[in-house]
Amino acid sequence: DVKVTQSSRYLVKRTGEKVFLECVQDMDHENMFWYRQDPGLGLRLIYFSYDVKMKEKGDIPEGYSVSREKKERFSLILESASTNQTSMYLCASSFSGTGAGGSYNEQFFGPGTRLTVL
């Protein structure tokens, strides 16, 4: 059974703090993703990693960075947290497979971290 775990379910931080969100998957997936989920906006991709030390910006990377030093672990970093980063953060992972057109590899999601920045 695929498991994606996130380090915290709830987190409260102050404006300007550096925040680390950790995600670990146990299925040897090549791809890992960070999304944020906000009411009325759905899920928006922050960053994507398709291999160790490889990363790509998603739709809303501003104010965030990521780190992937090991295949199973993908960290999201808020360098200087701001109140507009208060949100639910979801991590996901998937196999690469062919990745070609006409194929889809399911993304498995963690339970999310609800971050509040005061």
Partner: protein
Amino acid sequence: QQQVKQSPQSLIVQKGGISIINCAYENTAFDYFPWYQQFPGKGPALLIAIRPDVSEKKEGRFTISFNKSAKQFSLHIMDSQPGDSATYFCAAKWGYQKVTFGIGTKLQVIP
């Protein structure tokens, strides 16, 4: 445009009724259309997915209808049950396994 437009944002259906959620897109480069289901306190989980060369896919009470010419697709939940109450996201895959999600539909099935 990497957008998927989803409606309605919320839906209340009587038990036993049909729930219908609609999505539309513009980008013809999308090559796969998954639907995800999310229960409160959980991450989304894949429910059903369809390729654009297929007009319909059914899994149990869940059916995706796909209209390629109109660039629209929809999820139908037949015989809706209170246990189906969740948020549903349509999505579209593009490029190398990237996915764009709709804004979500919160479904409530009342007894």
